[in-house]
Structure formats: structure tokens, C-alpha cells
């Protein structure tokens, strides 16, 4: 059912039947280290190039989600997946062997939100009984594409984030009473551009998008922050969180205690030198599948608004002096049963 301007409330909520998360060594040493399904010690994932490594990461994670859910590959009708690389090469090469019809998605770091939005719509509408939603990022491929070669010596500003090497995948299913959690609604984000040009301060570029989507969600569903046990953004980091909380406060919403951010949760900035926090598609995706969903499953949190955030810049737009437009997609995830 369409609600408000940009949201959908599902009468028969798609159920998250299975989840998998695989991360790199550094993420494994972080605060969530023990929660991931697999912590791969080899950042090359047994491949010859960084791009192949990210593809291998996607393949392993998809296979693991399928295996954990005890699902047959051929029963998954669609795959919604994406990554950060140009022309989505991590996804296109990583999902060849799955032989599942694919929608390749680019929403920068918000990709998991986009995949869940589309996946849930597809399942709820009856166009698929099962879909797989997945997003990945790799520190080395992202650095190579967006910043500097790994061997180049430079200092990062304190507002910079650290791209997560990781992948998260979930299988969404129709007509189930049991499972990990249910997606009861979505709020699809729109582009928000507040004129930020500093690619080393993406939290500041994305915070207004997160604010907009959360506010839209409140308006569309006619609720406020008390409706949720947690509101979890993707990779705003410390700077972005400060801005989001300030913006929300101006609107009379106090998110201080219920808000957290995957980028803040996944790393310990003091011991891991990650500055503002983690980022990348894999940040929100792997945190969802290791930390957030289990807490919803066991009932610690009954209802969570998951809001992956993406900064949609490219090296070309950046070099041409463009601003950094951003997007954030909201997903309402609820505990199943009492």
C-alpha cells in the first residue's frame, strides 16, 4: 500500500529468511569482529587483482546466504546487487556463477537500502517468491578508484572515512511466518544536494539526505522517533551523525539515544585509525547482516529504521568541480512474533 509521498507499507511483509556477512581482516579486528559469519584473513580473497577479490567476496557471501537459508539457487527469482566500482564490475563478475536474473544497482554506499527497497517491493507484489539482495565494497578497489594508489603516502583528514572490505546478503521470501525479521515498509530517498564539495567529508554530504529520508518516513507513516527502537544510518560517521542529530533536533526530534550508524559501529577509530568511521556499500550491508538483524531477531529491538546513505560522486564530477549529491533509502525492519 502506498503511504504518503515516498513510502510503501507492506500488507504482507517480505521476510528475511537468511543472511550472510563476510568481511576483511581489519573489520574482523573491529568491535563487530565476532559477529560476522566469516572474517577473511586474505584481503585478496584468493584472487589476482583487487577487483577480482571483491567479486570473489560477493560470490562467497551470496553462496553462504543461500547455504545458510537452505535454499536452492533456482528458487531465487531475482538478484538485486551492487558495488562501488565503475560499471559495477564487482557485481557483474561476482554473480556470473549464480545464474540468477540480476538487477545491478548503483546507489553508492546506500546500495543495500536500494536493494532491500526493490527486493521487498518485488516480493510483496508477488513478482518473486524469493529474491537475494546484496551489496559489497572493498577498501583497495575503492581507494584505487576514488582516491590514491594504496602505496601512496598521504595524510587523511579527521573527517575522512575508511571503506569497509565486506559484503552482506539477505534472502527475502514471500508468505512465511518465521524468519529473521520482516520488512514492513520502505521509504525511498531522493537526491539531496547541499553543496558540499569536500570528498573527504562525505558524512556532511550525506547527513541532509538521511535527515530528509527519516523525516519523510515520519511524515508518510505519521509516526515519530518513538515508533522505532533504533534508527540506524549507513555510513554518516561521526561528523554526519552530529549534523543529522542537529537537523532532527531543529525539527523537534531527539535521536541522541536511538540513533546509531553502521560506520561508527564497525570500527574503533582510536585503535584502528579509521577517523570518522567506516563507509562503502559493504559497511551498511555487512553491519545489517551481523549486528542489526540478529538483534531484531532476538527481540532486543522490535522495530528498526535502517537508512543506508550514499554519496553519489564520481572522480569526473569531483574534478569538474561539482558538488556531492547524496541519497538515503529507508527500510522498516521488524521483529517477527512476540
Amino acid at each position: 500500500m502506498q503511504v504518503g509521498k515516498a513510502s510503501i507499507k507492506f500488507e504482507e511483509p517480505p521476510v528475511i529468511e537468511s543472511m550472510a556477512s563476510i568481511v576483511g581482516k581489519k573489520e574482523g579486528q573491529g568491535p563487530l569482529g565476532k559477529l560476522f559469519d566469516v572474517v577473511e584473513q586474505d584481503d585478496m580473497f584468493g584472487a589476482d587483482t583487487w577487483e577480482q577479490a571483491e567479486s570473489a567476496l560477493q560470490k562467497q557471501t551470496a553462496d553462504l546466504a543461500i547455504e545458510k537459508g537452505d535454499v536452492r539457487k533456482k528458487d531465487i527469482r531475482y538478484l538485486f546487487a551492487g558495488d562501488l566500482l565503475g560499471q559495477l564490475i564487482a557485481t557483474s563478475f561476482g554473480t556470473v556463477d549464480l545464474e540468477i536474473p540480476l538487477f545491478g544497482l548503483f546507489g553508492a554506499c546506500s546500495t543495500m537500502g536500494e536493494a532491500l527497497n526493490l527486493g521487498a517491493m518485488t516480493v510483496a507484489a508477488g513478482y518473486a517468491d524469493k529474491v537475494l539482495a546484496m551489496a559489497s565494497s572493498h577498501f583497495a578497489t575503492a581507494e584505487k578508484q576514488f582516491r590514491f594508489p594504496l602505496g601512496y603516502g598521504s595524510q587523511r583528514p579527521s573527517s575522512a572515512s575508511w571503506t569497509v572490505t565486506g559484503c552482506g546478503a539477505v534472502i527475502l521470501t514471500k508468505n512465511r511466518k518465521e524468519g529473521i525479521a520482516a520488512i514492513t515498509g520502505i521509504t525511498t530517498g531522493r537526491m539531496v544536494d547541499m553543496g558540499i564539495r569536500d570528498s573527504m567529508n562525505m558524512g556532511a554530504a550525506m547527513a541532509p539526505a538521511a535527515f530528509h529520508t527519516i523525516q519523510q518516513n515520519f511524515d508518510d507513516f505519521n509516526v515519530d522517533e518513538n515508533y522505532y527502537d533504533k534508527i540506524i544510518t549507513g555510513d554518516l560517521g561521526k561528523v554526519g551523525r552530529t549534523i543529522l542529530l542537529d537537523f532532527m533536533k531543529n525539527k523537534g526530534h531527539d535521536l541522541e539515544t536511538i540513533h546509531t550508524d553502521c560506520g561508527i559501529e564497525i570500527f574503533d577509530p582510536d585503535s584502528q585509525d579509521t577517523h570518522a568511521g567506516g563507509s562503502g556499500c559493504g559497511c551498511a550491508a555487512s553491519t545489517l547482516c551481523s549486528y542489526i538483524l540478529p538483534k531484531i531477531k532476538d527481540g532486543t529491538w522490535k522495530r528498526v529504521l535502517f537508512v543506508p546513505t550514499g554519496a553519489l560522486l564520481s572522480t569526473v564530477s569531483f574534478n569538474e568541480g561539482e558538488t556531492i549529491p547524496a541519497i538515503a533509502h529507508g527500510v522498516v525492519i521488524e521483529h517477527i512474533g512476540n
Binding site: D48, T49, W50, K144, F148, P149, L150, G151, Y152, G153, S154, Q155, R156, P157, S158, S159, V192, M194, G195, I196, N201, A204, P208, F211, H212, V239, T242, I243, D246, F247
Partner: protein
């Protein structure tokens, strides 16, 4: 959104932490100083072997470049640069690092389109504008000399 972009920019500046300048300057001084001291030690030792100053300088440059290349390959130079900032960036070792790092990174894309095309992605502007500015200075010096000013 009611907040206008100018106001937002100013607000972002306010809430974004800045790197501490003073410790950075001290570290840059230490690292840059150590690299230059090593260079001076090399020059002096080579000159003690009986080499001319120019020859000794050339050898010193080669030694520093080789050291930087090896340290980049071993992933040690980025750590030095992270600590030392401009102290590691400005000496010739920083320049060598900026050439080697893309070469290593883009090796996977082949000898021509990988290493060949990408090796100067960082150092290229320094080379181009370095040559351009020396040309401009040369012209100025020529003109000044022609008029007997210098």
C-alpha cells in the same frame, strides 16, 4: 530544505574537526629533517671517497630514490608519510613514492595501459608545471640579462 547552502557550508566547517596543526608541523620537521640528514650523510661519505660534489649529489639522489622505491614496495613509506605528512612528501623520496605507488597499483592493468599510462597520475602535474615554471623563469632571466639588469 530551509537551510541554505552557504549557511550549511559554514555550519559544516564548524562541526568538522580539524587536524591539529602544531603536532603535524613538529612531525613534518622531524621526518623531513631526518630524510635530509640521511641525504647529507650520504653526500659527505661519498665525497670522502674522493668524489666531486656534483657526483656525490647525484649518487645521493639515486640512493634516496632507491630507498623510497623499496620502502614503498614494502608498504613502509605510506606509514612514514602518514606520520610525517609534508616532511615525507616534499623531499625527493616523496616524489619517488608518488611515481612508484601508481606503478604498483596499476600493474594489473598491463604494461601499456596500466603502468605506462598511469605511472605519472600523481607526479605528472608536478613534472608538467615544474617544467613550465622553469621555462617561464628562464625567459624572465633571459630578458633581465638582455637588458643588463642582472
Amino acid at each position: 530544505m530551509e537551510v541554505n547552502k552557504k549557511a550549511y557550508e559554514a555550519y559544516v566547517k564548524e562541526v568538522t574537526p580539524v587536524n591539529k596543526k602544531f603536532p603535524n608541523i613538529i612531525r613534518a620537521f622531524l621526518v623531513g629533517g631526518i630524510i635530509c640528514t640521511i641525504g647529507q650523510i650520504c653526500t659527505t661519505l661519498i665525497m670522502n671517497q674522493g668524489a666531486e660534489k656534483d657526483t656525490a649529489s647525484a649518487w645521493t639522489t639515486l640512493i634516496l630514490i632507491a630507498a623510497s622505491v623499496i620502502l614503498t614496495g614494502l608498504n613502509i613509506y605510506p606509514k612514514i608519510a602518514k606520520f610525517g605528512g609534508a616532511g615525507a612528501l616534499v623531499p625527493i623520496t616523496g616524489f619517488a613514492n608518488s611515481v612508484v605507488a601508481p606503478a604498483v597499483e596499476f600493474k594489473a592493468e598491463g604494461q601499456i595501459f596500466g603502468i605506462g599510462c598511469k605511472i605519472f597520475t600523481i607526479a605528472g602535474p608536478v613534472i608538467l608545471y615544474g617544467i613550465l615554471s622553469s621555462w617561464v623563469l628562464g625567459v624572465i632571466a633571459y630578458v633581465l640579462k638582455a637588458f643588463g639588469i642582472v
